[in-house]
Symmetry: C2
Subunit: 385 residues, 2 copies
């Protein structure tokens, strides 16, 4: 197998989802580390923290009180990155004017939600069972469904999902009056990933514009579909199932891999095996299988270095307002970007060379996948209790 | 002025150098912070640390001894990300084969250098005078000049530079036998930016491939030149000098701005005012003026929050091996990407939304420039001594 040599030599790999390259240096893990150490996360958080602005019953920054919710609780972020109402901005664009070319801006409106995973301050996704994660996925589904444009190609599926999934009493949000273009669901977990509150939660930012990353993916997936008549991630799932070497875990509906083009040391991709355009395409069974996949990834992460593993994760799916073609091209998947490299305290920094030149990784994705495959089983903390 | 409204509303700005957008949320700086605090950097480092593998006279990881150097000392990184010699890798590429499309790799060879700024363990660029920084720039110039391809369009300039600049006894390196394509000079400063040793130094990674970031810049600069017959950064410098609001500092040869499209809170760009394609184009006077510009940026950074300010920085210029057109299109500039946002301990994290969707910043570049303009003067530490 010619690819075996990639375990030893430095090389670049191509990320076909966004059309760019990264540098892989498998031999580089041996270098000594005198730099910053992450503080190993304190495992002993209380079940309820009276100072936490996400715990049930507590008061938030701007005076609102949280309800006595059970699992998910959704609310508009008190410090949203985008707002629904703001002053207009319509710069004059003059193609011959240098300022129009080099100082371009567009207004962005939108709304940002915060969504808790559990009422308990100390319960991460890794601690929860698939059954306990299910309400989170149901809430994501209802929020996504309720924000689709009136002419969205997935409206029938959305209506069905809203009918089948009972509303979670504190997980409901009113969609904004103005139609938005894209919804980004993401989680920052752990202080190392800039999480400003350890109470397990995710964020949902909806904007009037299509952001860069899902935008690039749509372009590449559309090109691939045009050239080959098949979906990029459809082909990729098949290929990885044949090869086997980058698979972490799978069930009937989802494949979990360290992708060929992973940048972060233990980067993982959960990919739908069939053509799911957005979360409203899921069957009841698939919702639970997705919960299982998330559970497997987060538990394996924690087991890997026996720590509450930091990461940023997020879902890519069809835009809220989109054409038939855009919906058809979309293929549901979830990225996990975790920074730890060698232990609970030694992380990978994507800094100088990575920012100025090209992302660089040390161990290969195949090596990472082998390690994650091997650390399934019970959550390491359970036996410490 | 219609742009004034951008101080208050969320908007996107376009980065014409790499062709992508970022989200700006000026109103978002007020949010509370319960997340990770950076450890304020210990200011009191010793002048010589017997355990530092960069201090003069010490022994390095693989047994080599450092010479008793005076200012710069260059050597091949003991744990290089790329190697000069390695096994061949020539994957068969078959355009109809899915693996050829989705599992693409290229071998990369190259060489990585480490280059100290000073013999003193505790002296950062901010502590050094422009005269003391000059040897660093001279060493960069000689290393770059000695690595150009035999047919490089800047060979005459390189020969002249090598003639005018006396070799620094410990700053000389033998170029590798095989011609390389690109040289990335960069610095990671501070633990927050993954710097693994506080002894002030930079790195020089040379590779057989053109990395993503300078590659994207070349594409955008070439497009702009083709469309307008002028250089993108030539026009940008003129425009910023007219507007004034994003200028931090300038001298005859260099403009220092917080660029319109800055992602990092206090991101700065040093841009050559005339068409300098690479560091070998500098006159003696310009080398000193460049040292001055670096001094101004790093001292202002430290003054801003009265701390040794972390950042990653790096130089973009003509590739080592390039066509006449590529050299003509290149325009010398240096990026600074610093993470601190509100104080010595509160940084900006580019995490969930930024990785999954689009870079997001809080204060505007105009606000950042105003703060950096205002904190010139003596290095804050001087008066504490
Ligand atoms: O080479 P260093 O300083 O040990 O390492 C640092 O810079 C490199 C280049 O940006 C990164 O790849 C490493 O993750 C970082 O820790
Ligand atoms: O919204 P939070 O959790 O306070 O903030 C965190 O996530 C955001 C979205 O990725 C980032 O912009 C912030 O820099 C980060 O600290």
């Amino acid at each position: 197998m010619p690819d075996q040599v990639l375990d030893d030599i430095s090389h670049r790999r191509y990320n076909p989802l966004i059309g760019s390259w990264l540098l892989v240096s498998p031999h580089r893990t041996k270098r000594p580390w005198q730099g910053q150490q992450e503080a190993p996360s304190k495992i002993k958080l209380p079940e309820h923290d009276p100072k936490c602005y996400l715990c049930p019953g507590n008061t938030r920054a701007q005076g609102d009180s949280n309800p006595e919710y059970e699992n998910t609780f959704a609310f508009v972020n008190d410090y949203s990155a985008v707002k629904e109402e703001q002053q207009d901005y319509n710069p004059e664009v003059n193609k011959d004017d240098v300022a129009s070319l080099l100082l371009q801006a567009q207004p962005v409106t939108g709304r940002c939600y915060v969504l808790t995973f559990s009422a308990k301050h100390d319960l991460t996704l890794a601690d929860m069972s698939a059954q306990e994660i299910l309400p989170v996925i149901q809430t994501w589904t209802r929020i996504y469904a309720s924000h689709l444009s009136p002419s969205h190609p997935l409206n029938a599926e959305a209506a069905q999902a809203l009918e089948r999934i009972p509303p979670n009493p504190h997980g409901e949000v009113e969609p904004p009056k103005r139609q938005l273009r894209y919804m980004q669901i993401f989680e920052n977990k752990g202080a190392a990933m800039g999480c400003s509150n350890p109470h397990p939660h995710c964020q949902v930012w909806t904007t009037s514009t299509l952001p860069e990353e899902p935008g690039k993916e749509l372009v590449e997936m559309t090109k691939y579909h045009g050239a080959h008549g098949r979906h990029l991630l459809e082909d990729y799932v098949k290929l990885e199932m044949e090869k086997g070497e980058r698979i972490v875990w799978q069930n009937d509906a989802f494949l979990v891999v360290c992708p060929w083009w992973a940048v972060w040391p233990f980067e993982v991709l959960i990919i739908a095996k069939r053509h799911i355009r957005a979360i409203v395409d899921f069957t009841d069974e698939e919702r639970l299988q997705f919960a299982e996949a998330i559970q497997e990834v987060t538990r394996r992460y924690d087991n890997l270095f026996a720590t509450s593993f930091p990461y940023s994760s997020g879902i890519h799916q069809a835009p809220l307002d989109c054409t038939e073609d855009e919906a058809e091209t979309s293929w549901f998947h979830m990225h996990f970007y975790p920074p730890l490299l060698r232990s609970a305290t030694v992380r990978k920094f994507l800094v100088g060379y990575e920012l100025l030149a090209e992302p660089q990784r040390d161990i290969t994705p195949e090596q990472a996948a082998a390690k994650l495959r091997d650390c399934g089983g019970e959550l390491y903390r359970k036996s410490l209790e």
